[in-house]
Symmetry: C2
Subunit: 340 residues, 2 copies
Amino acid sequence: MGVVVPLGSKNETAKKASLKKLQSLVADDLSKVNKVIVDRMSSRVPLIPELAGHLVASGGKRLRPLMTLASAHMCGYSGERHIQLAACVEFIHTATLLHDDVVDESDLRRGNATANALWGNQASVLVGDFLFSRAFQLMVKDGSLKVLDILSTASAIIAEGEVLQLVTSNDTSTSEDAYLEVISNKTAALFSAACRIGAVVADRPKAEEEALESYGRNIGITFQLIDDVLDFSAKQATLGKTVGDDFSEGKITLPIILAFRRGDDEERSFWIRTLENLDQQEGDLEHAMGLLEKHGALEDTIERARHYGAKARDAIGFFPASEEQQALVDVIDFCIERAH
Amino acid sequence: MGVVVPLGSKNETAKKASLKKLQSLVADDLSKVNKVIVDRMSSRVPLIPELAGHLVASGGKRLRPLMTLASAHMCGYSGERHIQLAACVEFIHTATLLHDDVVDESDLRRGNATANALWGNQASVLVGDFLFSRAFQLMVKDGSLKVLDILSTASAIIAEGEVLQLVTSNDTSTSEDAYLEVISNKTAALFSAACRIGAVVADRPKAEEEALESYGRNIGITFQLIDDVLDFSAKQATLGKTVGDDFSEGKITLPIILAFRRGDDEERSFWIRTLENLDQQEGDLEHAMGLLEKHGALEDTIERARHYGAKARDAIGFFPASEEQQALVDVIDFCIERAH
């Protein structure tokens, strides 16, 4: 890996601080969520908690359940339903990750060997199914058909988005809008559902539900775009993840879409060879990163992310100022600053 | 394939007749179910209905939804809820099949190329997730938390059973009871849920729910045991399925468990080499089938299946005589006679 793309100089402390406020505000709730997760992962088949626990315990930020908790608090909710529902959200997320890693044939996630690398694809598919079913059992226990509707619809949208991504995965002619549709579905749908159910449990008016839904959708897009940038950035290596995974799989993400559209014929031939034909050689990743830099594709992807971050900020501006509101605004900065 | 195991001489006509009664009793409902299935499989991502339709249209018997329909009728239900719920049951079943074929690396199902063989494992995993989510959306639309509870619990049990089977899949020391636990979970749980919701929509007393639950569980076990027999039988070839799939995957099914326990040291070494070490050579399948015949393992597996069939028959005997009741009894014979 010869090319290092400078993405800025913000320091680690600033980044970590922006999620810490959220974490400390809902710390008690989060430990209850973790307890529900551990309890409900259990099974008389030991492989299930073993495999699921590997992923659940492997340094995930619990970003989505944190957002459910904070949204509920911001909406003035004082009961306990958000605890179980935050655990549901994390189960759906974990099930998705397990299936994603099988689909992507990934070996590393968050710097750890993936479940499929350790236990095989078969176990990952089935334990994903188990967690998904458990999520629905938890929702049924909660008893709200509205919440069930929101999360079952989100699950169907996520799966649709994943299939859409698979279908377009080696198509360099993918447009920015088509790509945004993919990530709105596969990533942003769960963020928006996670936030929206905060308003639902608090029984708030539709406008508040929609504000949280919009915040979640936009921060989800922000998050995914930065994830796409990180896949090509030196920062990634310090996170323990492999650089260039998306490239080696021929995944068409926004940085690629921008560089392809801004490139000349020779460059487009390169992208077609490496990403459509998956004919990759030594040095191709470095060349790709050089092209991304030449066209400012990573910087501009971050700019696009900032745009969605700004929309998320305005969406949540609908609520009166509170510590939770500020913490949710800070998450936007956290998402964007991950790139630096 | 040199060894043909004679399983009896019942003719085709008798077999087909026993499912036809059920099919004709609920024919109108079944065509409505098929319409719901087609409608709800649709997606703006064309691969989804294409892939799901391949499996849904590929000669499945719709056994589980038929049982939901007949159970509801038998319980005197005259509404429309059972239509959507029967479609749910088929979606859950189809999602399970898609994931199963990935896990088993199967190339053929019902004589057709499997979805994973045609579109790849990745698409099969994701479309399975989509169908599973769709099933839950349909249940939410139905609006009964009780039905949601029954089917989400069944889904978790199925996934648990699949993982359990994976864990024990090459273990020749698996006991008959341990194996029965696997198939009670992975196969019988959906049959029992499919039947039970017939009583739930009709708002019948708990005893009727439990009778249908028991009927479904026992016929599910019957069905799976006969499936295990068919995998080693010449009949299988006429159904377009590959003979010996379970053997080549090292799956430990009841015929193997019986032959292993009845065999001598040399035979056990053979089973361990072929099924635990998966060290298989030309002629091993024929030798395996010879051992199964020598120990009457297929015939006795059919006998065991008859035992569960008898339990299913008594369970449904709880209901007053009706055409639907008789049709559900006939399904038991249909399941067993598949072996012949």
